[in-house]
């Protein structure tokens, strides 16, 4: 036992030096070569910078809305609702979101609402929507912005992010980018 | 042929005795040794308490009748398990009793040296008074009072009391057939026997103790299995204890009877109840094969044997080699040659020697006596060094022996070894015969051919052993060429030719160093070290006391192929335990599906989706599961006693087969069984 304590302490110290020191510093060095020096991807609009991958809260009728967030879009305290699929309170919440959505988006079919629009994301910062999730919001935005629905549809289609290599994963749009382009299209 | 081989599993007398024992074994002090059944007994006691409690006015535990039925079924479960053990013991005991009869006091004619002339005096004492090294006399019609070794005389003996074999056997002093067993009967002649065991330690005593379970110790595999089963029992204790707060959370109240039923159904009662019966039955099967194992461990080890050493003579070939032909060398008169052969064999007491004389007679050669008999005649005994024997008289020296031994003899005397004789020797050897070269005054006169007769069916038996993964090794004193021929013809994997006793020993050591388990059979005193060294040493009952002491099994039939049966018995023993364990655990799947939905029918009705058997009601479901759990024990008693059939089809195929029968079968059968019982039970509740 005793013979092991000192070597253990010394070995731990060297491991600290190596894995807490050298390894992260090496990564930090490599990060300087990466876009934005490893501080997360940014998009710029009107001289303002936004984190491309972090969802923002959009409540205005003239913007595409992001998915609900269980943490109020707080990117310093990520999290989901952690509600179970059979929880009656949770189901009431979802029903409430559907009703609200129907009120703000008159004239759409309930069955056109994809579930991600009324369910909270895992991180509370999901920056994406499915294509259907964007499309279903077009009538409301068109009305708010006085635009042709067809132009908006084109805009959404232009912004579709295909699955990886067209083969793997989901098809989606980035809500922030969509809204930035929306603003450039129509002030 | 063999005694009681075909006896029925459930003879009324045995059943009656076992029935009585099942109740005696309810004593917790006895049952404590079997942890699984002991916990069931505790559960039974608790249920009895619950019944009393209800009678005293408790009303949250369900009806008295229902609880009482559960109590009765649990009690039956324990009784069934006890019965399984008791019937196995009773069967053993029945054997022991028949043996014990032969042990009853018999008069012994003790020989005592008396007077100054050391004249022997015979006094008749009770056999129980005989001490080790006493010498007694037995004449025709006497029962031999004690195990011993013949020191003088020869006799035919009826050993049917021990072996069930009615044909009498010959026992004589000296050599490897000098041992006699107490309880057997002398049919002819007169022998002096020295007692070789202490009172109470004879083979009969040991055998009786063994089958009665007095000296039954758990074998290593049995201990390991008991640990495994205890582990399973602990898992289900955890499951049942934690179910209480789980149920509280689900706002369900579960009566005590349901907890206990669930617990008893889940713990491996089937194998737990049959485990000791399987062990006893294994010993019993060995005994039925007329093999006395000195411990259960020996039987179990037999199932693991990798290498089997078998003496050629008597095992692979029928009896001994026999002389079949005389081949005189060129220019030697055949008749003279045969006479020389007879002369050389006169003092040769081996079966081969005798067969030479017999063959000579059949060829019309009359008894011959050397010239000047009684004067300068010297018989030369066979020794391992000279590897030849013969006779010296007057100026004549006749020798017969192995090819190279005689060749050396001739060469040393400056004589050539004729080529045609060498050719003859080669031909005989390569045909599986044994050539004995005969010389007169160091000149080759001819060759005697000895032939072995291989037993019919032995090839198939070795094939079977090979499929079991056992390597067979033939041990023979023959030269390598002959040995090879017979080995190939009989289908053994390897052979030790020109074997000296230490060769056997070395071979065993070598195999053991490579991690193999070795079994061998032997009878002679010079086999004793090898028997002791082997992992399983089977001594023949006819063998010397030293051999019997050294081995860990004794074969009463003196049948050298018995090892094959012993191996199968060992394997059967393990397999029966393994398959019933699998069966027992697999049964739990169905029991869960019967009981869990029943427990939560009122509080979580959706769990009825798990009631895939569509059982009638919660009560009938629980009752059916408990009843199934109880009656499966007696239903499996025949299997436990007879053992699962061993088929030499290779380990993987055997596993697949047993997994299918006892694993998958173990999952499906209770689904069917519980459903059927439920159909019946539903008529009453």
């Amino acid at each position: 036992m005793k013979t092991n304590i000192l070597p253990a302490i010394k070995l731990t110290v060297f491991c600290m030096l190596f894995f807490m020191g050298i390894y992260p510093l090496l990564m930090l060095g490599i990060a300087q070569l990466a876009p934005n020096h490893g501080k997360g991807f940014m998009v710029e609009a009107n001289g303002k910078k936004y984190y491309e991958n972090i969802a923002q809260k959009f409540t205005d009728d003239k913007y595409f809305w992001s998915r609900p967030s269980a943490v109020g879009y707080n990117a310093a305290g990520s999290g989901g609702s952690n509600k179970g699929p059979s929880n009656p309170d949770y189901l009431k919440d979802v029903q409430g979101r559907i009703d609200t959505f129907m009120l703000s988006n008159p004239g759409i079919n309930k069955s056109d609402i994809p579930s991600e629009l009324v369910t909270a994301s895992g991180s509370g910062e999901d920056p994406n929507l499915s294509v259907q999730g964007a499309m279903v919001q077009i009538p409301r935005i068109a009305k708010a912005r006085n635009m042709e629905e067809k132009d908006l549809k084109l805009l959404v289609e232009k912004n579709i992010e295909k699955p990886l290599l067209g083969l793997f994963g989901t098809e989606k749009v980035n809500v922030l980018k969509l809204n930035i382009e929306l603003n450039t299209l129509n002030k | 042929m063999k005694r009681q081989r075909q006896s029925k599993l459930f003879e009324p007398a045995l059943v009656k005795e076992a029935f009585k024992q099942s109740f005696i074994k309810l004593d917790p002090r006895i049952l404590f040794r079997n942890p699984v059944m002991f916990t069931v007994e505790i559960g039974t006691a608790v249920m009895l308490g619950v019944c009393v409690w209800i009678l005293m006015g408790e009303n949250t535990q369900g009806s008295f009748a229902y609880n009482f039925i559960i109590f009765i079924i649990l009690l039956l479960t324990v009784l069934f398990a006890n019965f399984a053990e008791a019937i196995a013991e009773a069967r053993g005991k029945a054997q022991a009793d028949s043996l014990r009869k032969t042990r009853e006091d018999t008069p012994a004619k003790l020989i005592q040296p008396v007077g100054e002339l050391y004249m022997d005096e015979i006094i008749v004492v009770s056999s129980s008074k005989l001490q080790k090294d006493d010498v007694f006399l037995c004449e025709a019609g006497d029962i031999i009072p004690m195990d011993g070794e013949i020191i003088e005389g020869i006799a035919t003996i009826d050993e049917s009391a021990i072996t069930g074999e009615s044909a009498p056997v010959i026992r004589e002093s000296g050599g490897d057939k000098s041992s006699v067993t107490g309880g057997t009967k002398v049919l002819s002649d007169k022998i002096k026997v020295r007692v070789t065991v202490q009172p109470g330690e004879s083979f009969l005593d040991k055998m009786i103790a063994l089958v009665e379970g007095a000296s039954r110790q758990k074998t290593p595999n049995e201990i390991a299995l008991t640990i495994l089963l205890a582990g399973f029992t602990l898992i289900f204790i955890i499951v049942c204890v934690t179910l209480a707060p789980f149920a509280d959370y689900a706002k369900t109240s579960i009566p005590i009877s349901a907890y206990i039923s669930l617990f008893v159904c889940l713990i491996p009662t089937t194998i737990g109840g049959l485990l000791s019966a399987i062990g006893i039955a294994g010993m019993d099967r060995a005994l039925r094969a007329n093999v006395i194992a000195k411990s259960g461990k020996a039987v179990e080890t037999a199932g693991d044997i990798d290498v089997l050493l078998l003496d050629k003579t008597g095992t692979i070939t029928i009896g001994n080699r026999k002389a079949t032909n005389f081949y005189p060398a060129n220019g030697i008169d055949e008749n003279a040659f045969i006479k020389a052969c007879v002369l050389a064999s006169r003092a040769d007491e081996t079966p081969e020697g005798k067969s030479i004389v017999e063959l000579a007679y059949s060829r019309g050669v009359q008894a011959v006596t050397p010239h000047g008999e009684g004067h300068n005649v010297t018989f030369i005994k066979f020794t391992a060094e000279t590897r030849s024997s013969g006779i010296d008289f007057e100026n004549t020296r006749i020798r017969k022996g192995a090819f190279d031994a005689i060749r050396n003899l001739c060469k040393q005397a400056g004589n050539n070894f004729p080529n045609e004789t060498a050719e003859k020797v080669r031909i005989i050897s390569s045909n599986g015969g044994t050539p004995l070269v005969v010389s007169e005054n160091e000149k080759v006169t001819g060759v005697i051919e000895l032939q072995d007769i291989i037993k019919t069916g032995i090839h198939e038996r070795f094939e079977r052993l090979r499929k079991m993964g056992i390597k067979t090794v033939m041990v023979t004193g023959d030269n390598p060429l002959t040995a090879k021929f017979i080995a190939e013809k009989a289908g053994v994997d390897d052979f030790i030719a020109e074997a000296k006793p230490e060769d056997k020993m070395n071979y065993i050591r070598k195999e053991q160093q490579a991690g193999k388990l070795v079994a061998m059979m032997g009878d002679g005193t010079n086999d004793a070290p090898a028997l002791a060294q082997a992992d399983v040493g089977v001594a023949m009952n006819s063998g010397t006391a030293a051999a019997k002491e050294a081995g860990n099994m004794v074969d009463l039939d003196n049948d050298p192929t018995k090892l094959i049966e012993v191996v199968e018995i060992g394997k059967q023993l393990l397999m029966t335990r393994g398959t019933l364990t699998t069966f027992s655990i697999a049964n739990d799947v169905a029991k869960y599906f019967a009981i869990v939905p029943a427990l939560f029918i009122s509080s979580i009705p959706v769990l009825q989706s798990l009631n895939i058997m569509g059982l009638h009601s919660p009560q009938s479901a629980i009752l059916s599961a408990v009843i199934f759990n109880a009656i499966i024990i007696p239903l499996l008693i025949p299997l436990a006693l007879k053992g699962v059939a061993y088929k030499p089809i290779g380990a993987s195929r055997l596993l697949r087969r047993n997994l299918l029968y006892y694993g998958l079968g173990g999952i499906l059968i209770p689904f069917i069984g519980i459903k059927l019982i439920d159909l019946v039970v539903a008529m009453f509740v």
């Binding site: 092991n4 879009y73 309930k110 895992g122 994406n128 990886l164 | 582990g231 991690g515």
Partner: protein
């Protein structure tokens, strides 16, 4: 074909294919053969060992190895307790986060030392950068400990009789430097270039398009994410783990991270085959593991993509499936695959919230942890599988009428005893833990110091799902997994302490047990195979192991699973 499905097939297959060459490489490291990285690491390790006063060439017995393992882990425990309880005033704390309470530090320390990475704190606010770096250190060295223990067992299973089974420190350091570090660098670089932060700047505050203030946590995340996945640690940099866009920015990183989760555990199986020159045995083990994982993955993917019937009834559409707690960029299929692989392997990182997945998915995730050997945690996964093998060998040996042998060594009472005890620990800890918590919740007991409020307060969901939350927490702790039904209010003394104890016992006993069995076997006489020996590298024996796993785990946990996820499932899908 649906691109979600092709995506997960691609992830699954690519990982398994990659694990083969990696296994070969690991086997070389264990046997001390030459590898590509020798010129870099040979001198480095030499310096490490010389300065630490360790003679890495001196072989140890299994007992000496275990003592060395336990002592160094004790050192780490003390180090971590100190740093976490003092992090408030230690350097690298740009956001001014406070020190941890004793019970939280206890839980976190055990959690990271035991390779569990259960996080009863939130990464963004509960720790400082120094603590995060320290926890990252543990992600290396706790994984290295597991791999080293595995290497000792491999060594013991070789065809010979031996006392000395290699040097623990040697295996440990080489596992960290030559297996975990190079792979971490590769993964971290990919993450950095796909948008994961790697910076020591503090929290960033931005203004959103609509004018709201938006706080964004960053930090040296990429370096930690790489090792958390590769070392089956799972402790994320951010609270919501790999669901957070910074931690797992897109589908490509999701492929890389998900592959990293079970790459080394699968590779270790092949490493066994190469190291012992028993490739067929490796394929048997690999086959059983893969079949088990497919059995758990398929229904999970099905139910997640099918969606929630309760939401179906509301009249909206679920084109993707059950999206509560999931990210659009991954979709339900990739979330389901991750959910199962992360629980199979004792990783515990998440890219969706397991609490919100369908009951069958939750059950399968728990089953993965209850088995805890489907690839399993780095090193320890094989150790757990080894226990199942020992039990299977014993029973099947009896079934073919021969004293059981594994790799030429007899399995006897002592080995069976240890194997049974180690197997028992898992159900014991999970079931009694859940019994304690659910019993308290049943009577809604006031908890005093242990928890502010009554016991049901820690449930985020009522009924069967609430039961599942408690069951999941102890299952995750006992499997050293670290994922959670995160709705559970676990940041309090009751959960910190009980889960801490569970993690501690379930980490070290299942290392000690298999190493002891292997050590005992190594000392036994080697028996060469004969045709009567039951071959353990066949499909038949694979079936046997599978049956043993299925039946043992099923029987142990059936009641709990019936009352939690199964009851919820039947309720949800009732007609």
């Amino acid at each position: 074909m649906n691109t979600e499905i092709t995506g997960i097939i691609f992830i699954f297959l690519t990982t398994l294919v990659l694990s083969y060459p990696l296994g070969k490489y690991i086997a070389k490291i264990f046997s001390g053969d030459k590898t590509l990285l020798d010129p870099v690491f040979n001198p480095l390790e030499k310096i490490f060992f010389r300065l630490s006063g360790i003679d890495a060439s001196k072989e140890m017995t299994w007992k000496q190895s275990l003592v060395a393992l336990l002592v160094i882990n004790a050192v780490w425990f003390l180090l971590s307790m100190f740093v976490l309880m003092c992090q408030g005033w230690l350097p690298l704390n740009p956001d001014g986060n406070p020190s941890m309470t004793a019970d939280c530090a206890f839980n976190t320390t055990i959690s990271f030392v035991s390779n569990t990475n259960l996080q009863h704190y939130s990464g963004e606010s509960g720790t400082t950068y120094l603590s995060q770096l320290l926890l990252m250190l543990f992600q290396f060295i706790s994984a290295g400990t597991g791999i080293a223990a595995c290497a000792i067992v491999f060594n013991a299973l070789r065809e010979r009789t031996a006392d000395k089974l290699g040097n623990f420190y040697n295996y440990f350091l080489k596992s960290c430097t030559r297996i975990l570090l190079p792979l971490s660098i590769v993964v971290a670089v990919i993450l950095i270039f796909r948008g994961s932060p790697m910076t020591f700047d503090g929290k960033d505050t931005t203004i959103s398009m609509q004018g709201d203030t938006l706080n964004v946590s960053t930090g040296p995340a990429a370096a930690m994410i790489a090792i958390k996945q590769l070392g089956t640690n799972g402790g994320g940099y951010f609270g919501a783990n790999s669901a957070v866009p910074f931690e797992n920015p897109d589908y490509l990183t999701n492929i890389v991270e998900n592959a990293s989760i079970f790459l080394i555990p699968a590779a270790l199986v092949f490493a066994l085959g190469f190291y012992l020159r028993r490739k067929k045995l490796a394929w048997m083990i690999f086959g059983v593991m893969t079949v088990c994982s497919l059995i758990l993955i398929a229904p999970t993917v099905y139910y997640e993509m099918k969606g929630n019937p309760a939401i179906e009834k509301m009249g909206i559409s679920q084109p993707l499936g059950n999206m509560e707690g999931k990210e659009v960029r991954f979709g339900p299929a990739a979330s389901a695959l991750w959910e199962i692989t992360t629980t199979n392997t004792s990783n515990g990182s998440v890219n969706s919230m397991h609490d919100s997945s369908m009951p069958i998915s939750g059950m399968n995730a728990m089953l993965g942890m209850m088995i805890n050997a489907i690839y399993g945690g780095v090193g320890v996964g094989f150790l757990n599988f080894f226990i199942f093998i020992i039990i299977a060998v014993f029973i099947s040996g009896l079934m073919v009428g021969r004293t059981p042998e594994f790799l030429g060594k007899k399995i006897e009472a002592r080995e069976v005893k240890i194997a049974m005890i180690i197997f028992l620990i898992h159900p014991l800890l999970i079931m009694t833990g859940t019994a304690l918590a659910s019993g308290l919740a049943a009577i809604d007991a006031p908890m005093g110091w242990w928890y502010a409020g009554n016991a049901t307060g820690w449930l985020n969901n009522p009924g069967h799902h609430g039961f599942s939350e408690m069951l999941y927490e102890y299952t995750s702790s006992s499997a050293n997994n670290g994922s959670g039904f995160e709705g559970l209010g676990d940041g309090n003394p009751f959960w910190n302490i009980t889960c801490g104890i569970v993690m501690l016992l379930s980490r070290f006993l299942p290392i000690v047990g298999p190493v002891a069995i292997a050590g005992l076997l190594a000392q036994k006489k080697y028996i060469p195979e004969s045709s009567g020996t039951l071959k353990t590298d066949t499909g038949t024996f694979g079936m046997m192991v599978f049956a043993i796993i299925a039946v043992l785990v099923g029987l142990s946990f059936f009641t709990a699973l019936a009352l939690g996820p199964l009851a919820e499932h039947f309720t949800l899908f009732a007609k």
